[in-house]
Symmetry: C2
Subunit: 224 residues, 2 copies
């Protein structure tokens, strides 16, 4: 009976939303800013996190939950710099709050200034799932082309910040930073935009300061 | 009732599989080799198709069905070189056979040597859907990192060929061609591997000859 199916699915989605809200509330109360990082595969999420962790170098209490279909490669890359735990979805194309909440409890410490959730590399499906974050950030590397926001609108519509990554490769690729920003802001006019090269270190300080301001606004009772 | 739900889903999947088989059989009979192109967003599927169409320049009867969540940008890029029709999924993360079969009927001509299906940019979900292709090809650009096959195993396991793209950027990125191939062949030992730079034209002739051989093997009654 189709109506029965729809009812069940609604309950599941409502449960997930309630769990995400609860997770977010608990982290807000603990002073932890939760950042959900999303992008295509290979846009530089892990490299950005490594550069950031090295820039802060112990200034903040930071942990990362990395998400992938398989392997613990991202966690291995980040382990020298930050507390990190790998979540594997076993094939699923995005993270959901039950897995995130369970992984969080397994971190060596839960008292944090920042918790980063590195989502599965996928510019489509993760856009539809609240994982209890305060701030949703989408990365777009300049090698992917400046036409992507319009082609993947939900991801950009539901993000608060856009990080244009791999700026060091700009001289070698057909990509207009202005065109990409214009295309993204046509979808989401309030989008904050940052540019980085994790390889060279460009823009990492500004990215870290941006995150610190976002966390401040949580403390001030104005969630980002 | 959960059992009811599972039964319905099985019927839908069986119907899709039957439709894909039927579409493939009809194209085989007509001498058309159907190629399903898959990759992350921005790996260079459209650029490869444009370079290929220009290289062949009327040698074969070719058409392209491009898939995206939104916009007809890919079709606009390809229109100067080849018959092309844009499919938009309205948010869905992959193509399915009903949309492909419907779009095929709307092409200006159905008698083709090659039909290319440019799937939605997504290294996860399209791997699970047979769209009636003879040959499934996954692209991986060197800017995405040589660690991707192991992290997205189903996509590589279910492909017959791997095209490493954007080889012109190799001097500027941390990427080992050997490591990427080794990682991919650990998952799918029979994978054919090609390398291209659509921007410079490197490897386009070899890619086109590879496709011609695949089409020959269809004629000879040995589907690729």
């Amino acid at each position: 009976m189709p109506t029965k199916v729809i009812t069940v699915e609604r309950d599941v989605l409502a449960d997930a939303q309630a769990s995400a809200e609860e997770f977010r509330r608990a982290r807000t109360a603990a002073g932890t800013c939760v950042v959900n990082l999303l992008s295509s595969p290979g846009s530089g999420k892990t490299s950005l996190l490594a550069a950031m962790a090295q820039y802060w170098s112990g200034k903040h209490r930071v942990a990362v939950l990395t998400g992938d279909l398989a392997t613990d490669r991202d966690a291995q890359r980040l382990a020298p710099y930050v507390d990190v735990l790998q979540m594997t979805t076993g094939g699923a194309c995005h993270l959901e709050i039950p897995l995130v909440a369970k992984a969080f409890q397994r971190l060596p410490r839960q008292e944090l200034d920042f918790l980063f959730i590195e989502n599965v590399g996928n510019l489509v499906c993760p856009a539809s799932h609240d994982v209890g974050e305060h701030l949703r950030v989408v990365l777009l590397s300049v090698t992917e082309g400046d036409d992507k926001p319009g082609k993947y609108p939900k991801m950009f519509r539901r993000s608060q910040a856009l990080v244009l990554s791999k700026l060091d490769l700009l001289p070698y690729v057909p990509f207009s930073v202005e065109a990409a920003i214009e295309d993204a802001r046509r979808i989401q006019p309030a989008l904050d935009v940052l540019t980085v090269s994790a390889l060279r270190g460009d823009g990492i300080a500004a990215w870290c300061e941006y995150l610190e301001r976002q966390r401040q606004s949580l403390h001030a009772g104005h969630p980002a």
